[in-house]
Symmetry: D3
Subunit: 160 residues, 6 copies
C-alpha cells in the first residue's frame, strides 16, 4: 500500500476556519498532510512566518498526520524535497478556480510527477479569506467564528 | 496506514483519452480507484452499460489498482456500499466546475463522510467530452487520438 | 410613501427551502410580494400548477404581505397587469447569473418601467434546486431539510 | 496581398439584429464573408433551411462581399471545400465563450489550417438569441427592433 | 406600510453615468436611497471625499428621496446607524458578481438584518467604471457621455 | 481587395511562446500585423521598452508581414495614426475574457471604426503569461519551452 503525502501550501496570514476545514478534509484522504507556510510574501504580512506557523501548529494539534512547515522559493522544488505526491488546494469561487488552474498547469509542467488535488471547504466558509478577516478586524468588526479562538486573541492584539 | 478508495463515476459513452488521463492520475494518488459506470442514463446511450464497462476494462488493464464496476441509483449509496472515502471528478471548464460544485455539495449533505476530490486532465484534453466525440464520429470526422484505438474501432462500427 | 409590489416568478416544482429563504428576504424589503407560479412548463411538471400553488400557500402562510398566484404567457404582461414595480430573482451560481442577466435585460426592453432585483439565498441553500430535489427523491435519497416538511410528504407519495 | 475568406456558421432560426451586427463587422475585416446556414438541426427548426437562407439573403443584400450558403456535416469539411481561412463566431456571454472555446479547439484539431476568430456584437444585442426571439414571439411579445422588419413579418405569420 | 431605506455605498472617484443610472433605478424601488461615499480609500483618490460627495449632490438633485452622505469604517456599522434595511449594489460583470457575492455574505454574517439587493445598470454602461474613466481622462481621451457634464469639467481640470 | 492591418498591443515583458503562437496565427489572417509594445507600464518593467521591442523583432523575423513598434498613450489614438482596422487580442481564460471585453467595448466607443478581434493561442500555452514567466525565473525554475531561446538567455542574465 502506498503512503500518500500531500502538501497544502499558503500564506495563512492568519489561518481561518476555512483553512482548518480543508485541513480536516485533507487529513482524512491523505496519509500525511504537510501545511506549508510561504515565508516571504509580496507585501508585508500582518503576522511573521514564525507566528503564522506557530498558530497553525496550535490549531492542528488534534490531527496526528498533519505537520506544519515553512518553505520558500519554487513550490515544486519544496514538494520534491519532501517526496510528496500531491499539492492540496481549496477552491471556493470561480476566480479562485481560474488562478488555481493556471498554477496547477504550471506546476505540472515544472514537475510532472506531482498532482494538484482540489477539495471544497464547507459552504459556510465560501466567502472567507485571510484578507477579508484582516480587513474586518482592522475596521473593528467581530471575527468570532471566522478564525479559531487563539487567532481571535492574536488578531486583537495585532490590530489595536 | 490508511487504504484510500476513490470512486470515479461517469457514463463513459464512450471512454475518451481525457478519462484515461484522469484515471492514470487518480491511480497514482489513491490506493484503489473504482471506475463506476452509470447504467441508466437519461437518454439512450450509444453504447450499452455492458459495452461501456467492457471497453473501460480493456483500456485500464495496465493499472492493477483500478477496477471497473457498474452502478445505479444514488451515487452516495453506491459509495457507501463500496466503503469508499472519496469521489474523484475531473474538471476542465468553468461550466463543469459549477455543476460539479453543486453535485459535490449535495453529495456531502447526503453523506458527510465522503469527500469529492477534483483533478485536472492534461490541457490537451480540455475540450474533449464523450458527447463531442460521438458528434464528430457521427458526422464522419476523424477521432484518432481522442479515444483509445479500441474505441475508434467500436465507434466506427456503431455509427456506420 | 410608495407601496412597492414585487413579483417572484418561478415554476416551484416543488418549492424548496431555498425558495422559502428568498421569500422571507423579499417580504422584508417589499411592501407586497407576489409569488407567481408559471402554469405551463416546457416539460410535464411533477406537480400540477394547482398543487404547486397550494403547497406554496401552505408554507408562506406566516407572511401577511406574501400572496401566491398563477400566471401564464409573457412575464412582463403579468407584471403590468398586477401593477408591480419589481421582479425578484434569486441568484446562487454564475450560470444562474448569466441566464438571469439575459432575462432581466430582455424584460427591461419589453417593459422599461419594471426593475429586476436580485437577492441571495442563504449559502447553505446555494446548491438547492427543484430539479436536484426531484432527482434525489426519485432515487430514494433523503430530502429532509431541503424542502418544507409538507413537501417531503407530497414528494414521497408522488415518487413511490 | 491575401484574400481572406471567413465562414460565419449558425442555424439562424431566425436571423436577429445581433447576427446582422456581427455580419457587418466581419464584412469590414474580411475580404469575403460566407454566412453558412446549418441545414439539419437537432430539433425541428421554426423556419426551414431554405427559409432561413432566403431571409439572410434579403437582409444582407447591402454587402457585396457577403454570401449566404447552406451546409451540412462537419463544419471544417465545409470550410475546406470553400478554401476559407477563418471561422467567425460572435461571443456575448461567458457561457457562449466556454462552448465556443471548446468548439474552436476541436475544429483546430480537425483542421489546423483554419483559425477561429471571435468578434463582439454591439452591447445592446448582448442578450439577443434566436431562441429568446422565438419564445417572445410565441408568447405574443413585441420583437420589433430585435430582428429585421422582414423577419418580424415572417415570425408573425409563423407563430399565429 | 413600511418605509424601506437602502444604502448605495461606493468610492465614486468620480461618479459615472453608470452610477447615476443605478441611483435612478434604486430611487424608484426604495422609499429612501442614501448614496454613501467611502471616505478613506486604500490608495489616494483622484478627488477628495468632500469633492466626490459634492459632485454626487449636484448630479442627484432631481431625486427628492436620494441623499448623499460620507461614511468610514465597517459598512454594516454605518447601515445600522442609519436604520437602513438594504444595501444596494450594481452588478455588471461576472468578476463584479463574485466579489459582490463574497462581500454580501460577509455583511450578512456581520449583520443578519440587512439584505444586499443587486440591480443592473443599463447595458450601455456595462463596461464603465471610475477607474477606466480616470485612465481614459489621464491619457487624453474623450469622456463625454461617460460621466455627467459637471464631472467632465472637474476631471479636465484635475488631470491637466 | 482590402489590405487589412491589425495591431497586436501588449507589454511583452518578456515575449512568451504564447505571444509568438498568436502572432503566427494573426499573420495568417491579416495582411499586416503590427506588434505594438506599450512603453510606459504602471510598474517598473523587468525589460526596458527598447529591450522588449528588440527581442520581439528577433523572434518575429520569419514573418515578412509582421512589424514591431512602440506606442504610448491611448491605444485607439495609435490605431488611428497607423490606419489600422483591427486590434488583435489573445484570450485564454475567463478572467482575461471579461477584462478584454470591457476594453474592447471602451475602445469601440472611443473609435467605432476599429474592431477588436480575438484569437486563441494553442491550449498548451493557456496558462502562460509574462508575469508567471518572470516569477518562475526569479525563483530559479526552468523556463525553457515557455519563451524563445533568446529570451531564456536574457532572462537568466536579468534575474541573476
Amino acid at each position: 500500500m502506498k503512503s500518500t503525502v500531500a502538501i497544502y501550501p499558503g500564506s495563512f496570514d492568519p489561518v481561518t476556519n476555512g483553512h482548518l476545514d480543508l485541513i480536516a478534509r485533507g487529513a482524512r484522504i491523505f496519509d500525511r498532510l504537510v501545511v506549508a507556510v510561504l515565508q516571504n510574501l509580496d507585501k508585508a504580512p500582518l503576522f511573521s512566518a514564525a507566528e503564522r506557523a506557530e498558530m497553525l501548529r496550535e490549531v492542528t494539534r488534534e490531527w496526528s498526520n498533519v505537520e506544519v512547515d515553512l518553505f520558500d522559493g519554487l513550490l515544486v522544488d519544496y514538494v520534491r524535497r519532501r517526496n510528496a505526491h500531491a499539492i492540496l488546494r481549496g477552491i471556493r469561487a470561480i476566480s479562485d478556480y481560474e488562478y488555481e488552474f493556471q498554477m496547477a498547469l504550471m506546476n505540472r509542467r515544472l514537475e510532472p510527477n506531482v498532482e494538484t488535488v482540489f477539495m471544497m471547504p464547507a459552504e459556510k466558509y465560501s466567502y472567507l479569506s485571510s484578507r477579508i478577516v484582516r480587513e474586518v478586524a482592522q475596521l473593528g468588526g467581530s471575527i468570532e467564528g471566522l478564525v479559531p479562538p487563539l487567532v481571535v486573541e492574536r488578531l486583537k492584539s495585532k490590530v489595536h
